[in-house]
Structures are given as structure tokens and as C-alpha cells.
């Protein structure tokens, strides 16, 4: 319940920051996605949390602001959550490796779903031009934003559910 009370306003704030600032910081035509990174960071930080809940809340809020169809947005964020969960389980000893791997794979997955959606609805989106102009700059920006977002989400996670410290 506490997580829900925090996640909703938190993702609301992150979505607003995304549309107001992050989307305007562009390299070529690519821009970062801090909502996606927040979902990944939370899943890596809080291994026992309801990871799909975060993905659904984040995806729903972004779909309100984006012209991308709701189904595509939800699919992106839910799949990203699954990727992050798998990465967190495989590389549980190294959260930073999980973070980088999840951020990279999620960026590629998001790109593929978006370009497929555009082509499905009949909007021309040349693949190789999109890779060089959107995917690669977006990947760079997402990896750049990943660590600050991870630190923020980690702090919030520890604040919500403090871990018992074991003293030798």
C-alpha cells in the first residue's frame, strides 16, 4: 500500500519531468526516458516488490501524455519490467550490471516496438535512419541518466522499506 501511495505521485512527477525537460534534451532525434529507467531501477532495488504494478502505472501515465497507442506503451513498459526482473535475478550480485544491461536492452526493445507500431499504423519510419538518428542517441542518453535515477529510486526504496542491518 505504501509503495502504491509513493509510486503514483512519483511516476506522475517523473512523467511531467519527462515531457517538460527530458524529451527536449535531444541528441540528433533521440531523447532519454526516465520513466523507463525508474521502473528498471525500482525492480533492481526492490527484489520483492510488485514489479508489474510499477510498469502498469508508469506505462499508463506515459500513454496519457504520448500520442503512441495505449497498447504499445503498456507493452513496452511491461516487457521492460520483465527484462529488468530477469536481469536482476541473473546478475543479483551486481546491480549496476543489471541496470546497464536492462537499460540497454529496454531501449532497443522500446525502439523496436515503437517503430513496429508506426509502420503498423501506416506512418513511414525508415529503419536504418531511425537506428542512427534515434536508437543510438537514445541509448547514450538512457545510459547517462541511468545512474542518477538508480540512486534516486534506491534511496526511495530504502526509505520505504528499510533493510535490517546485520552487525558482526
Amino acid at each position: 500500500m505504501g509503495q502504491l501511495l509513493v509510486s503514483l505521485p512519483l511516476f506522475l512527477v517523473l512523467s511531467v519531468i519527462q515531457t517538460v525537460a527530458i524529451s527536449r534534451i535531444e541528441i540528433l532525434a533521440g531523447s532519454g526516458d526516465i520513466v523507463l529507467l525508474a521502473i528498471i531501477s525500482w525492480i533492481i532495488t526492490d527484489e520483492e516488490g510488485n514489479y508489474l504494478g510499477w510498469a502498469i502505472i508508469g506505462g499508463f501515465l506515459v500513454s496519457i501524455l504520448s500520442a503512441l497507442p495505449l497498447a504499445a506503451t503498456m507493452l513496452i513498459y511491461v516487457t521492460v519490467a520483465v527484462i529488468a526482473k530477469i536481469a536482476a535475478r541473473i546478475f543479483w550480485q551486481s546491480p549496476f550490471l543489471s541496470l546497464l544491461l536492462s537499460a540497454g536492452l529496454s531501449t532497443i526493445l522500446k525502439f523496436l516496438i515503437e517503430i513496429f507500431t508506426l509502420q503498423y499504423v501506416g506512418i513511414p519510419a525508415p529503419f536504418f535512419l531511425s537506428v542512427t538518428s534515434i536508437l543510438l542517441p537514445t541509448m547514450l542518453l538512457n545510459l547517462f541518466y541511468a545512474f542518477p535515477i538508480y540512486i534516486l529510486m534506491s534511496d526511495i526504496s530504502h526509505w520505504l522499506s528499510p533493510k535490517d542491518e546485520i552487525y558482526a
Binding site: 511531467v16 515531457t19 517538460v20 524529451s23 520513466v35 501524455l65 515503437e114 506512418i123 538518428s133
Partner: protein, 280 residues
Amino acid sequence: MKSIDPKRLRNIIAIFIVVGLIFLALSGVLRPILGVIMDPFVSMQRWLSERFMALYDFFTLPRDVTVLLQRNSQLENEVSSLQSQVIQLQEQLAETEILYSLLDFARSRPQDQYVAAAVIGQDPSPFLHYVIIDQGSDDGIRYGMPVVTQQGLVGRIDAVTSSAARVQLITDPGAVVNVKFQNKSEDAQIQGSVTGEISLQMVSQTLTINPGEILLTSGLGGNFPVDILIGQVVGVEKTENDLFQSASIQPVVDFDAMRAVLVITNFQTINIQPLLPDQS
């Protein structure tokens, strides 16, 4: 003969001398003499005064430094406050200039009715070129209304809530606008792309296009009013085997720096979909 009292005589002489000196002083005759007499006194007074003030400063300066430091701190605070005010005023001035420009544009097209709106966000997807504005259906904004700035065409309303609306920019890959050349009778289309570039399409191979030619909305299709400025041709791509030639367009609107827009509220968009032949 009664003799004059020597004491009274001295007084009379003294009065005469004083009166005489006053007359001489008033007439200016005594000025050089007074100067010679007073100069040493003035010099001495100045010397003494300087030494005294130096001594006075020596004893009172520490207290003044404290006062000065406090005063300096106050003034620094005031400077910071004034600097923030200056920044706010500069922001307001920039906003006012934008609004004045929009007003000028609105006056130049008196047949249209406008609602001014601020740009408050951008679509999170890098593939899509949409912006969010702070006016919605409560302010008379409806789906399909054209959006312009003082420079030219921006796009059209794509989605509306009660207090905000989403605008599809002409740089969006899904945006197609019917256009015409300013100095030619030919019509064509422009289309955006995922990278935000605009290309001119559906131009006959027989037409000669030169860089710098101006494009305006043609009004065909009923989605936009006629004669709104779009941009100019910067490069032409002509391949003999293609049916049409194309060109890259430089839009007049700076979409990255766009802060306010005008929505044309009295323009009735025409839905021609029922008139089109069934594709299926």
C-alpha cells in the same frame, strides 16, 4: 573748553577703526592682506584636521568595518534579489514579445479567431513530434483546429482534454499538409519524418523548383486555412525514373524554441473521408 574723556575718545577711535575696516573689507581692499594673515592658519588647521581625522579613523575604523560588512551583506542580498527580479522581468519581457508577435499575426488575419496557448510539454516518444499546450476544451479548443505562430504553420490539434491539448506538429512523420508555391500555381504535399525533417512530395517532374521558393498552405483537403506560411525549399531531389520529384523544406517555425502558439478556433475542418473511394 571741556576736554574729552580719553576713555571715550579711545572708544570712538576704535569704532571708527572697526567701521573703517568693515568698509575696507567690503570694498575688497583687505582681501590680499587677509589672505596673507589667514593662510598660515588655514594650513595649520588643515594639517591638524588631517592628523585628527587619521587618528579618529584609526580608533573608529574597526566598528565601521563591522557596519560596512553588514551593509555589504545587505547590499549583496539586495543585488541577488534584484538579479532574480531582472531574470523574471527578462522572462516576462520575452513572453510579452512573443505575445505581441502573436497579436500582430492575429491582427494581420482579422478573419480568424485565436486562442493563445503556452507550450508545456513534448511527446515522450522520440519518434513522434507532438507538443502539449495549456488550453483545452474549456477554452474552446476542439479536435482538428489548426495551430500557428507569428512565423507560420505549427500543426493541428490531435487530442483534447478539458485543460490541455496535444498538437501534432507538421514535422511529425504522420503529418501531411497540402501546400502550394507562392509564385507558382502548382500544388504539392509536405510530410514530416521521424527525424523532424520536412520533405516536399507529389511535385510533378516537369516543374522546376528552385531553392528559396516559399511554400504556403493550399487549403486543399480542408484541414488548414489558405495562405499560411510553412517554409522554403532548401534542396531538390530529382531522379528521372521517379514519378515525382521531392525537396527538403526548411520550416519558418523554430519548433525547438517554440513557447507559445495560437489556435485558430473558428476554422471548420472538413472531413472528406466519406467522399474518398473505399480502399478495402
